[in-house]
């Protein structure tokens, strides 16, 4: 029995090392990164796994337990990191001449004239159509519009393909979008891009020096968008300009622009952007601080204590709001506090009551995954709001609207 185990262990160890050797040889000899990844996968996956399997023959419970843990870990992470590298190699804009990114549109910045520069992301979906329509109606008269369509490359890389290859579907979608905007009397330019949608849109926005990026949202919740990938969430975290997200049921109301603040630095930026938008759109303005009364367990046995605490919280909220309003020069009648509930829904309900045109909120710039884990104020507003929402990322200094 003992000998058989020893032989099995030696065989597994030998097999694992052999796999690793073959894989390394492949990495050394293969010409480009995709082929190398294939060979490297042999080292990071099977080779390590087989060597870990040999732990079963050591007759030591400690080693077997630790090795089992590592086995599961490698089983999960090896394919994930391999995939991440392959995806980056495929999507990266870069020195590789056959990189997936479309050739730059020459002088794109000069294509957009005076006034407000709005970049609309368009993919032909219903929400994108709504976003485009709204952008053309609301922001078209104030300036000019660029429509961007991003093709996300899938499947086999076409090694013979040149970057100039035209995508008939892309052309069709862009023509349709341009026609839709033209009906409102606003001239529009179009941008063709290839690559990761969020990254390309962020880059396009920076190139055009866009004042606003408009995207449609499928209205997925925080968890679903973290799992499935949400372009609007990624944009809200990383764009260099405010991002207007048009939800599936969002309508542009007749009321004021509602800016939500919580006293933090990023919410102040959002309020400034909201003021700037208000100067362009002249819809009226409402600065709102939504606050919660802290629930304190045990206090409820004292009848008046709860009310007293609530009063303290209310006073604090009023002070904070007044401070921000003074700093930004906003008259008192345009400010308001709302109380209770979780903060996002209080803000959303108020916006609905006011028939708000837009809600403007700041974003800490968390990625989709972190936002889902930590809970993102802007994401929950996005999911619930009945009007379009402007998410203001941590703005780089010098934003045109700011």
């Amino acid at each position: 029995m003992g000998t058989a185990l020893d032989v099995l262990g030696a065989c597994l160890l030998g097999l694992g090392l052999l796999l690793a050797t073959v894989g390394l040889y492949g990495v050394l000899r293969m010409p480009d990164i995709f082929d190398q990844l294939h060979a490297a996968g042999l080292v990071t996956g099977p080779a390590v796994l087989v060597i870990l399997l040999a732990a079963l023959t050591t007759r030591s419970a400690d080693i077997v337990t630790s090795a089992a843990l590592l086995f599961v870990f490698v089983l999960i992470t090896a394919p994930l990191s391999g995939h991440a590298i392959a995806r980056a190699a495929w999507l990266r804009p870069g020195p590789d001449e056959d990189g997936p990114r479309e050739a730059e549109t020459p002088g794109a910045a000069s294509l957009l004239g005076e006034g407000m520069r709005t970049l609309v992301a368009y993919d032909g979906s219903d929400s994108a159509k709504r976003a485009l329509e709204l952008a053309a109606q609301v922001f078209g008269p104030a300036g000019s519009i660029a429509i961007a369509h991003v093709v996300q490359p899938l499947g086999e890389p076409d090694f013979a393909g040149s970057p100039e290859v035209e995508d008939p579907e892309q052309e069709e979608l862009l023509a349709e979008a341009r026609a839709a905007v033209a009906r409102t009397g606003t001239p529009a330019v179009t941008l063709r891009r290839r690559g990761d949608p969020a990254a390309e849109l962020i880059a396009a926005g920076a190139e055009l020096d866009a004042d606003l990026i408009v995207v449609g949202s499928r209205g997925r919740g925080a968890v679903a968008s973290a799992l499935l990938g949400s372009v609007s969430a990624a944009l809200a975290g990383g764009a260099h300009s405010p991002v207007l997200v048009v939800g599936p049921s969002a309508t542009f109301g007749h009321g004021p622009i509602v800016a939500g603040i919580d006293g933090s630095e990023f919410s102040l930026d959002a309020a400034r952007i909201a003021l700037a938008l208000d100067r362009r759109l002249e819809r009226g303005f409402r600065l709102v601080h939504a606050y919660t009364v802290r629930p304190i367990p045990g206090v409820s046995v004292v009848p008046d204590a709860r009310a007293e605490l609530a009063q303290v919280d209310e006073q604090k909220a009023e002070e904070l709001l007044a401070g921000v309003a003074r700093e930004l020069g906003i008259p008192e009648e345009e400010t308001q506090t709302v109380r209770d509930g979780s903060e996002p829904s209080a803000l959303v309900v108020l916006a609905r009551d006011l028939d708000a045109a837009l809600i403007v909120v700041g974003s800490r710039g968390l990625g989709a995954v972190r936002a889902a884990v930590l809970g993102s104020f802007s994401t929950s507003v996005l999911a619930e709001a009945s009007c379009p929402v402007v998410v203001v990322p941590p703005i780089v200094p010098g934003s045109a609207l700011g």
Binding site: L13, V27, A54, T77, S81
Partner: protein
Amino acid sequence: MPEAVAAVGLAWATLLLLAGGVVLLRSRDTLHRVLALDVLVSIVVALLTILSYLRDVSYYVDGALALGLLSFVSTLVAVRHVLRGRPS
């Protein structure tokens, strides 16, 4: 597992580590380096595992687990940097 087998495996894995170093030195750009480091970490994980078989103690495997975790996270971050980190 006989000690001799583990010792030979250890020597073999060390040679692989040297070959991995060559891969790293020959890498042309960031992604190649990320890939090379990923492979190198895998070899070190294998090396530590074999070391724990040889010495008959388990904590080398735990160290390998920590290393693998670090490598996984840094691979993802480096890849993200390649995709999104370009100056604008």
